[in-house]
Symmetry: C2
Subunit: 298 residues, 2 copies
């Protein structure tokens, strides 16, 4: 706290840094040797990783992996290629643990149970529990949910979120999203709870789309998407985090090259439109906890 | 993203979790064997770690370490003691690197250069660059700094923050905080830039304290304080992070036992008063990127 100590620390730091070892660790050593990052991605998780109409493998997380590749190339000072490997929810953690892949970026959410098996990067996307309701329903605040009939799919994080935020909500079990939408349209429930980004897609499929809305602006509870990396690989995680936070800095600063990546997938004309305000506020919260990174143009 | 995959993942997760290894890693193995967490703390960093009037070693970071001790005891299922070791800005990173301490919690800020040597927990306090100004100065927004004379101590993160946020500000070098205050009082500068929490203390020492104010409400740039831990100790970091995020959950939920820890040091009648709104918003940003943790009473 004393500024004189801070200055000493800065001097010390500069000394330490110039003697710092170059990037090291099992994963980084392998990447340096082979010139390849082996990365797991999804083929079925729109818009994170999927096959488009032309059969091309595309998605937000593939673009994110490309940013990580560029930064790795810069830090290691040699050309680095990205080799994509298809992963599924069933095999993604195994492949990370046996290090047959160096990283997985898809739609994997951060949980404490998973932290015991693998490590996570900083979160690079957030969805979270919201409600699909009829316009003018007055449902929005946590308080407004008390006593209301809220449709939930059992055992989802959405069910957990509504139970936690408003124990007095009346939960109605539905078997899938379609049934949730139908019950809402028939007036059998007052709202249907799911991930904000899922509800955006569901609302588009409704016949009476204009009569529906998604509330509240910020989710009742967030669900954090992050890249998965092997445990005990601190410097690899640092490099991944640095790439991601640099990108987030571009997003909150409205930097064209960063924003264009986001907008391609989540913009108004993107694959699955999702509020920029939500993600800006979420990214800012992450950026604030790290040292500021100068922006670069991609 | 597809809920059916999420459900599969949850099922898979429960299976994986029940087979999960117990907490492991060099640090956790040592703590389990010795029954002791060896923790570095400061004796000169008010209110993070210092000797009080009675000569007792106290502070916010010592209270935080006690929370980590309690959680470690719970997770390892055996009594764990905390052994405090005095560290300085000069030796704190060396002691972490040679593992003579398992963790250091003080007033260490997160930087990317340091990340190459050590790991950081999630940030457990944030200060950041603000300005001490005369009341009614109109200085507050980034735009308002253009052309204004802003006092800075050279080579500080505060100097860097003002330069970055408003390149058109006119920087005036001062040698220390006292000179900054004097120049402000004499009208030789329009504002003095330093850490918000440092300015709170400085303002209290001014003869004309009531004529001064600190702006803006949220810092121009944050500086993140975190605990330091050895690299490549993922599970130890998870346990530390879990303890810290659980505490933050208590703070943003106004839970009495968590809030009383914060208020003891940063409350209105605490050692160095610091805005709860600032810290709530900062902690919420961290909490949002992790899975929700049930609150506990300390």
């Amino acid at each position: 706290m004393y500024k004189q100590f801070a200055i000493t620390a800065i001097t010390l730091l500069l000394t330490v840094t110039s003697q710092a070892p170059s990037w090291a660790g099992r994963v980084l050593d392998r990447i340096r040797q082979t010139g390849v990052i082996t990365a797991g991605a999804r083929t079925d998780a729109i818009p994170f990783g999927y096959k488009n109409e032309k059969g091309e493998w595309v998605g937000y997380s593939l673009d994110i992996l490309e940013l990580i590749r560029q930064e790795t190339e810069k830090q290691l000072g040699k050309p680095i290629k990205l080799q994509l490997v298809e992963v599924t929810p069933e095999n993604r953690f195994t492949k990370i643990k046996d290090q047959s892949i160096d990283i997985e970026c898809g739609s994997t959410t951060v949980t404490w149970a998973r932290e015991k098996e693998v490590d996570f990067s900083v979160s690079y996307f957030a969805s979270g529990t919201k409600l699909l309701v009829k316009k003018g329903s007055q449902l929005e605040t946590v308080e407004s949910l008390a006593g209301m009939r809220i449709g939930v799919i059992p055992n989802t994080t959405n069910e957990k979120a509504i139970k936690f935020q408003q124990p007095a909500a009346q939960l109605v079990t539905v078997k899938d999203r379609l049934e949730g939408l139908q019950k809402l349209e028939k007036g059998e429930i007052d709202g249907f709870a799911s991930d904000g980004i899922i509800l955006e897609g569901l609302k588009q499929t409704a016949s009476n789309s204009n009569a529906l809305e998604i509330v509240p602006e910020y989710p009742y509870m967030y669900e954090s998407y992050a890249c998965v990396i092997p445990q005990d690989e601190s410097q690899w995680r640092d490099l991944v985090n640095y790439s991601l936070i640099q990108y987030m800095g571009g997003i909150v600063s409205d930097q064209q090259s960063a924003v264009s990546i986001y907008e391609r997938w989540f913009g108004f004309n993107g694959k699955v439109p999702y509020s920029r305000e939500n993600i800006n506020s979420y990214f800012q919260g992450i950026i604030d906890t790290y040292e500021w990174i100068p922006l670069i143009d991609y």
